[in-house]
Symmetry: C2
Subunit: 165 residues, 2 copies
DNA sequence: ATAGTAACTATGATAATCATAGTGACAAGT
DNA sequence: ACTTGTCACTATGATTATCATAGTTACTAT
């Protein structure tokens, strides 16, 4: 086993503290990101995040134990599993989306992304570019899991291609 | 020095990845939480978070280096500093608030907080209980840094008192 | 029979964290 | 003057976690 020895979730009554026990871990965040983007397979996650297989394995077990991801067989011979966000996991959308918004506003040097955002999001329902809003600027609907379609900037898309190729 | 050797922020173009370099750390998250609650002093943060002084020191330096917190002298003899969120730091409000909302919905056993949330938030402008919304349910205004007044549940308030006493 | 793919596990070196103790600069009390 | 106390740290050594690399299992495809 290689689960980090962290405090029990119930070690504090503070809600931010409880979230931090789970989310205060770079590997967990990167894996969640990949799951939100539809990457469900172990190898795919390991390659894209750049994390070693041992860490990915340990974190997926942790996430599964917390009920944030579920493990589902997608074939029998040989037996293979994929990982999917549960409802509890999908509800982390707001956290990851807030992280994305913050980074778009603060984490890039001027011009680094060529003018636009590193990743542009379009509201599926109405086609509007949502910018960094939490409610669609076109139709006013609050944004949640599954509502958005991401379009990576050329730089980000090149980076991802380099990893999988 | 005890700064963790993490990848450069600019190691990825993915905005969630960039945020994760900073926020994917339990200590960083707990320190930010305390700063959002108005704790500005080293000792106060160290005691409330339960982190050792060395970790607090290392993370405050990291946060200062990233421009998320500023260091300000509050007295001269002896020279003492306090830490405050910068604009870049205050903009992390949405992330911490999303973490809080998720935890309120998923991280407590039924009845653990005695019926209500672990921490209740009131919209200062109109007095409405905001629940776990991102816009005030009373007046519709989107919620941001400084808009809310927190009221800890008895359990949480007892926990905090135990730390400082 | 050999190579390939997917999902891991094992191992050892390196790095981070924790618990505990100590330091420096001063204020206040005896 | 001397002890005690406060605040913001720094130092040290033991414990843990992480990273890089290699190996394993169970198959399929050629």
């Amino acid at each position: 086993m290689n689960l980090p020895k962290r405090a029990d979730l119930s070690d504090t009554f503070c809600p931010v503290g409880r979230s931090a026990e789970l989310l205060g871990d770079r590997a967990v965040l990167l894996i969640l990101r990949d799951l939100f983007f539809g990457r469900r397979r172990f190898e795919s996650i390991a390659v894209n995040t750049g994390l070693g297989p041992q860490l990915v394995s340990a974190r997926l077990k942790l996430l599964e134990g917390e009920g944030v991801v579920g493990r589902h067989a997608y074939q029998d011979r040989p037996l293979r599993h994929e990982y999917r966000l549960t409802a509890k996991g999908k509800d982390l959308f707001d956290v990851l989306y807030a992280m994305r918004n913050w980074a778009e506003q603060w984490a890039y040097a001027p011009g680094e992304t060529g003018g636009g955002p590193a990743m542009r999001y379009i509201h599926r329902a109405c086609g509007a570019d949502v910018g960094t809003s939490t409610a669609c600027p076109g139709c006013g609907v609050p944004l949640g899991y599954g509502d958005l379609k991401g379009e990576p900037s050329p730089a980000l898309s090149a980076e991802q291609a380099a990893k999988s190729g």
